[in-house]
Amino acid sequence: MTIDRIADRVRAAERLNAADALDLYRRAPTALLGQLADIVRARKHPDPVVTYIIDRNVNYTNVCVAKCNFCAFYRPVGSPEGYVLGFDELFRKIDETIAVGGVQLLLQGGHNPDLPLTWYEDLFRAIKERYPSFKLHALSPPEVIHLSRLSQLPVPAVIDRLIAAGLDSIPGGGAEILVDRVRALLHCDGKATANEWLGVMRDAHRAGLRTTATMMYGTVETDEERLEHLLRLRALQDETGGFTAFITWSYQPDHTELAGHEATGIEYLRTLAVARIVLDNFDNVQASWVTQGGKVGQLSLAYGANDMGSVMIEENVVRAAGASYCMDEVEIVRNIEDAGFLAKRRDMQYRILGDPMFREREVPRMLELATARADGDHSTPAELRLYPARSGAGKKMRAGEILPS
């Protein structure tokens, strides 16, 4: 089929199959992809509104046994650079988040064998007790699988326990590319196969949780595999309707074992636009300014995105791999309005919460994203001793052989 014919099908709101989507992705001019993605966006969002959320992106531990070769963030068990945040540190971060109008934590971390399910349950309960209306968007599917393996409980049971403790929604991290050939090459098939990732999301949706979906492209996958990823998400969304949004970003290669180079800005805009067109059953598509920078992040709004994501406040994972962009609420709103849209704050369910917070009350400017911990802080939270460790290093530490500094 010609590109013009495929474009006509998109204009007529017809669903694209894999072959048509691949043709469009490979051969359509970038500007045409933008035009088509904008048509789909406007169909879903007739009002010229672009949303964003004020939340904090916290990584509770960087200790991880999964060892994905594209990851610059993790540290192996026993590493002196490994950390686990304490409950008090997390409360402080929540206080800071609330101070700038934040409504939730995006809480993700490594697969730390020394943090049992009860640690998460106690943390979630403690947070909900102190901050009853504060939301927990936490634990991507591979983390849920890790907890299932650690606790020897099936995934639905783990999800039920986490919900009972206070989990509100699940972020779509760890999807990378949902094709097992790719996952094997990235050494991330062990943490979750494509079916396992989708299975956790299916279970979460059945349990009443809403989740997001993501795609990290630009490592070893082919164009066909990127589209297979999108089509698998589309199929699950047809089945459950549980995804609120889709977010894509390019692999960040610095300091990773896999190395290589980052896909370009144009490739990002093309991928974003095709995702918007193919994922015709997703309401929301986010711009990834944290990997693309503010400028291409803003241009995403012309290529299908209707949401600028989060102000983040803190970021550790992408920074470890070489990208360090920062946008606070003022800057996000300026970019949205400069692109001709109305800026509205939202929650994880994409319910509108109101106009920009900084117009309602004074909010301190933020010119740099915070990190999980200050450099050189290797302290160990006191409450960790209450939880059984699985690793040798963890057991020694908890027995007091390695004293917290």
Binding site: P29, A263, T264, K295
Partner: protein, 275 residues
């Protein structure tokens, strides 16, 4: 062209891209530049990969400027030498009660090939000074914009086109401002509109240029799809050194190709380089 036409950024970009393709096809040129300090006696080391040696900084005096050009030109081995801002040279002439022409001629005699930039919004006499560059036997590497509020873009671009109608020697125009305000940076939409409008309004300047180092690969690459056809400021250092994320030559070529274009390396005189 009717500059009031498209308000949609994609439509505007498409129009500008069409104008660029009519003139340049899919060919995108780039130049690897080695920056050299302007102080006489300062280190004289640059990568052999450089296609332009650019003396950067404000000259402290006429004699210092001439001396530095002589030093750099002596080691240039045929690589074009560019230096200084034309606005700084205008001021130098006023300070030293000399004519701009005499300074330019002396720099030319010392081995200068090109005046590195003419910041349109900073020049006292854009037409007169650019003509002096030409009469002195020098070339102008690029016409630039120092700083520019968004609201004034279309009228300023028309002035640039008018200037070129009179002088006819501007080979490249870089429409994105040289001074970046980190507290209030231009947005992606701003930059795309400026580049696209520059291609559409300044029809009589052959190349619309974007600065790789200043604007970064992502925005610079997008600029190539909305009217720009030339990339300035690619580092001549070809090793992946600390602080540099990628080897610049590989990165620029990859970005140009990923934008659907053919990279052609050039030198400061816009001559294609075969390496």
């Amino acid at each position: 062209m009717n500059i009031a036409a498209p308000t949609n950024i994609i439509d505007l970009g498409m129009l500008a891209d069409e104008a660029r393709r009519q003139r340049h096809g899919t060919r995108t040129t780039f130049v690897r530049v080695a920056d050299v300090a302007s102080t006489p006696g300062a280190a004289l080391a640059w990568s052999p990969a450089a296609g332009e040696l650019r003396i950067v900084g404000t000259p402290s005096s006429r004699s210092a400027a001439v001396e530095r050009v002589r030093e750099v030109a002596a080691g240039a081995r045929g690589v074009p030498v560019s230096a200084f801002s034309l606005a700084d040279l205008e001021q130098l002439a006023a300070r030293e009660s000399a004519t701009l022409r005499s300074i330019l001629e002396e720099l030319r005699a010392a081995g200068l090939d090109l005046v590195a930039e003419a910041p349109f919004d900073q020049l006292r006499d854009p037409r007169g000074s650019i003509e002096e560059v030409n009469i002195s036997g020098l070339a102008l590497a690029r016409l630039t914009i120092h700083q520019l509020p968004s609201a004034e873009v279309p009228s300023l671009l028309k002035e640039v086109a008018d200037l070129q109608r009179r002088v006819a020697v501007v080979r490249a125009f870089a429409p994105l401002p040289r001074v970046l305000n980190s507290a209030l940076p231009t947005t992606g939409y701003d930059d795309v509109k400026r580049v696209a409008l520059a291609r559409l309004i300044v029809e009589n300047v052959p190349s619309i240029q974007v600065d790789w180092a200043r604007y970064g690969p992502k925005l610079a690459q997008v600029a190539l799809t909305v009217g720009a056809d030339d990339v300035d400021g690619v580092s001549a250092e070809d090793e992946t050194t600390e602080g540099r994320r990628r080897a610049p030559l590989e990165e620029i070529r990859r970005n140009i190709r990923a934008a659907g274009q053919e990279p052609v390396e050039r030198n400061g005189r816009f001559e294609p380089l075969v390496r």
